[in-house]
Amino acid sequence: MTFINYASREINCKLVYYGPGLGGKTTNLQYIYEKTNPDAKGKLISLATETDRTLFFDFLPLELGTIRGFRTRFHLYTVPGQVFYDASRKLILKGCDGVIFVADSQEARMDANVESLKNLVDNLKSAGYDLKTMAYVLQLNKRDLPTALPVDEMTKVLRYKDEEIFEGVAVKGTGVFETLKALAKLVLVELKKAK
């Protein structure tokens, strides 16, 4: 749910990183945080456990610049990936404008990817959204690991519609900004269509 403020000439969009636990959602955000100009970003907030597992969400506000005189801000959120945090994931999805699914390329995590994607579809549905019509991109993360499955094999299982797919190594930053850009574009194009 985009928030357009005509008075302060601002537009705010909410983007959510979804995916199985330990897949690299928080790492994506950390990389964006590290590489962004200090003027363009706010604080990175991580509500995590003592062992650095996401407990509720990570949050990073980004200001990208102006479009037609409107300051364009993206609020990036991650969900906690672990299965038992489902109630929290539902809360974070509320009002989101677009979703990035961060899949773990390791063969052993394919079941977790599939389960998490199904969970995304279900949770979106209960919030009144349909992933089929929503701004959505897929990131295949951890491409550098020796146990990574081939891209086409993962695509066959995880592609939900005609979404763009990016290969990533989030710890090194590979594909991180490409994925974010692609989603941000989709969200802005969606805004254009909505009016």
Binding site: Y6, A7, K14, R68
Partner: protein, 166 residues
């Protein structure tokens, strides 16, 4: 899109700022914020606002309210309408306006919970009226087939690309 976008217009924004400013003065509070349930700040009024990370405040408050709401439903309550966080020096009073908007009051020993509650109640009535007016305007706009002055109707691919050029 299943949910309508939130839109804020100049006139209503001014009214909201007025109500918030008065609320802050009358309650002797340090700051007053309005935030939508998704964690976007709508308006703010207070001392030294620049020194405060109001973006983080907004998103954490929204997360706080969302999880408290879910807790309420879990035990069969409709909602917990007021949240109060008491600190050594500063306190936060969080309440809901018109079911949709979160109001946060930051206050210290110059005020009291009783005074804040009293003033919040009064301001809530005023703000409800403003938000109803915004809803009406938005519906009228939608009936007309969209806001004439929408900044995104004529957005081009080049505009979008330029955001990412730096």
């Amino acid at each position: 899109m299943p949910l309508a976008d939130t839109v804020m217009y100049e006139e209503e924004f001014r009214q909201i700022q007025e109500v918030l400013g008065r609320l802050r003065q009358e309650s002797n509070a340090r700051a007053a914020f309005l935030i939508d349930r998704n964690g976007q700040q709508i308006a703010a009024n207070g001392e030294n606002l620049e020194s405060m990370d109001s973006t983080s405040l907004a998103s954490l408050t929204a997360g706080n309210v969302a999880s408290t709401d879910a807790l309420a439903k879990l035990i069969g309550e409709k909602e917990f309408s007021i949240l109060f966080h008491e600190g050594e020096k500063d306190n936060l009073h969080i309440s809901i306006v018109g079911g949709k908007i979160i109001m946060v009051i930051l206050f210290d020993e110059r005020s009291s919970l009783g005074l804040v509650r009293l003033r919040v109640r009064k301001a809530t009535v005023e703000l409800n009226a403003v938000f109803e007016a915004i809803n009406r305007k938005q519906e009228e706009d939608r009936a007309k087939g969209g806001t004439a002055e929408s900044p995104f109707a004529e957005i081009t691919d080049a505009d979008i690309d330029s955001l990412f050029s730096s």
